[in-house]
């Protein structure tokens, strides 16, 4: 048996179509969702990511309001820009493209906390984390909602399943746990949060009906660490040299060839969760616009 590959690009495209419809309906009511990204400096990686987000905004019908600040911007200027965007009624979502330049890296956490929780589309703010855990509607980091949508839209049931997650980090592991643990139709799982240092980790991963891994270590999960029929959500991203072709390629955390023979489904790397991230940020922005308009 070879695992089904969960196609993140296809799911992402589906969701974008739905979002286009949402944005159109909002426009008919005079509301255009606005997403403001703060980009400081000229880091090529950051520029690429912000470019992808801008393109997605255009495709869906979200007003892109990027705030480009020079590399040398002061802490005061950064915070006054965040404040300005907080107050702007046309802005429904604010994100800060990380990392910030070195002279500002010590205030990254403060900057993220300065974003109005109602506009925190990345879902990093403590208020949104607290609300999500307590079962209230709030912004959740994109990786976690991407994985959740991938499962649900692929027709998999989550209720009563054993979901095992490693690591228990703030970007992926804990946010995903916060969704899975809720008592509702799209969740209600029994969740286990592991660490890379968990003794006898394989004894936990082997129990998983759904295994989530975000370790950034190639072949972290080997064939003997999973049970037959597992669904694997792989958010690892490792740039390695293919032993055969000698070419550089991206792989996940899972020993793909071995695990695919046992798993029911795997989100491949690339082509799995990754392609969904920008789309989920757009989804959060549209949701924010609906919230502020009092539609939901």
């Amino acid at each position: 048996m070879t695992a089904k590959l969960l196609d993140g690009r296809k799911i992402s495209a589906e969701i974008r179509e739905e979002l286009k419809g949402d944005a159109k309906r909002l426009k008919e009511r005079g509301i255009i969702p606005g997403l403001a990204g703060i980009l400081v400096g000229e880091d090529p990686g950051s520029i690429t990511y912000v470019g992808l987000k801008s393109k997605a905004c255009e495709e869906i019908g979200i007003k892109e309001m990027m705030c480009k600040l020079p590399e040398t911007v002061t802490e005061t200027e950064l915070f006054s820009n965040i404040e300005r965007l907080n107050k702007d009624p046309q802005v429904h979502g604010i994100f800060i493209q990380l990392p910030l330049p070195k002279h500002l890296s010590s205030c990254e956490d403060k900057a993220l906390a300065a974003i109005l929780p109602e506009k925190d589309v990345d879902g990093f703010h403590a208020v949104n984390v607290g609300k999500t855990w307590s079962g209230q509607s709030a912004f959740v980091p994109a990786v976690a909602i991407a994985m959740h949508e991938m499962l649900i839209r692929s027709g998999y049931k989550v209720k009563d399943k054993e979901v095992v997650i490693v690591p228990a980090d703030n970007l992926t592991g804990k946010p995903f746990a916060s969704i899975m643990v809720q008592d509702n139709d799209r969740a209600g799982a029994n969740v286990t949060l592991c660490h890379p240092t968990t003794p006898n980790l394989a004894s936990y991963t082997r129990r998983a009906d759904i295994l989530v891994v975000a370790m950034n270590k190639p072949k972290f999960i080997t064939g003997d660490m999973v049970k037959e029929g597992v669904i694997v959500l792989d958010f690892g991203s490792n740039f390695i040299e293919d032993p055969v072709t000698k070419k550089r390629k991206t792989v996940g955390d899972v020993d793909f060839d071995a695990v695919k023979e046992k798993a029911e489904a795997i989100s491949p790397v690339p082509g799995g969760v990754g392609p969904m991230l920008v789309t989920m940020l757009m989804a959060s922005t549209v949701w924010s616009a609906k919230q502020m308009a009092g539609i939901i």
Binding site: H125, A126, V127, N128, V129, G130, K131, W133, S134, G135, D160, E162, A168, N170, K174, A177, S178, V181, D183, G188, N190, V191, T192, L193, C194, H195, T197, T198, P199, Y204, R207
Partner: protein
């Protein structure tokens, strides 16, 4: 062989001795730790809780006073009171009794408490910070569970902790506390609930089993592996079969489970005995952070 009984009262007493020393050091610097409680209306459960807190404060040496507000107070006046206490340099901890009367906006009131004085982790930001692993006050009940484990020599480091119950007051904060990469935590945590199908297969995996479901004697001996450490957070009142009077029991079938467990907390005298002292620990810590 019957389990070691983890004595909550004894552990609370130990903590109290340590706190008295810390309070003395603060007093030498001219600081008297003070906990202000806010009571809106006359809810009997809150009054009872308030009496318990006042008693513990007296025993430990933490100053306390209560802002007794009328049940028909406006939201604006409630927020003014909270703001006043936030700004008062002699107040180190603020505890808002819940639930508030229905006409008031609880979330807004809870969010108004200064994070520096939010000694029971009531402000929703505190819950978020806890789950993010950021520095914050741990709510007293789950904090007490951690202390009981560590002080009884059953630290959760590297262990498999299974929590039965996913409430916002105990289960979820406990996840946040125990997954942190710190001493007294660093556990692999599984959370399930009373509706979990095949729950026995999961609870049997536990090195440490924490029962926090609010269901009398729902954890039975067959659900527990030999040598498990069992922490019972349940508080249930059921009629005694002999006397007919209401008595307090936990979520664990104590008599049966103690024969299999390595260690177990009784109810009463277990987690309940430690809860109010943890509020004192947080209040003293709040006072100490001003002195730094």
């Amino acid at each position: 062989m019957p389990a070691e009984i983890i004595d909550g009262r004894k552990i609370a007493a130990e903590i109290q001795v340590e706190l008295k020393q810390r309070i003395q050091r603060l007093q030498e610097k001219g600081v008297n730790p003070k906990l202000m409680t806010i009571l809106v209306g006359e809810d009997p459960a809150s009054l009872s809780y308030l009496r318990g807190i006042a008693r513990t404060c007296g025993e430990v040496g933490v100053l306390t006073d209560t802002a007794k507000l009328p049940a028909n107070i406006t939201q604006s006046d409630l927020l003014k009171k909270i703001d006043e206490l936030n700004k008062d340099p002699k107040v180190h901890g603020i505890l808002l009794f819940l639930p508030l009367p229905k006409h008031l906006n609880s979330l807004e009131a809870e969010s108004a408490i200064s994070p520096y004085k939010d000694v029971d982790g009531t402000n929703p930001i505190s819950a978020g910070k806890l789950l993010l692993g950021e520095e914050t006050f741990f709510p007293s009940t789950p904090y007490g569970v951690q202390e009981l484990l560590v002080r009884s020599g059953h630290s959760p480091d590297g262990k498999h902790v299974v929590i039965v119950g996913r409430s916002n007051i105990v289960g979820k904060p406990l996840i946040g506390i125990l997954v942190q990469k710190q001493k007294g935590a660093n556990a692999t945590v599984t959370v399930c609930h009373t509706g979990t199908k095949n729950i026995t297969a999961i609870t049997q995996q536990a090195d440490i089993l924490i029962a926090a479901m609010g269901r009398a004697k729902a954890i039975t001996a067959d659900m527990v592996r030999e040598g498990t450490v069992v922490i019972d957070v349940g508080v249930n009142f059921i009629p005694d079969p002999v006397t007919g009077k209401n008595k307090q029991v936990g979520d664990v079938d104590f008599e049966a489970v103690k024969e299999k467990a390595a260690a177990i907390t009784p109810v009463p005298g277990g987690t309940g005995a430690v809860t109010s002292i943890m509020l004192m620990v947080n209040t003293v810590r709040a006072a100490e952070s001003i002195v730094k």
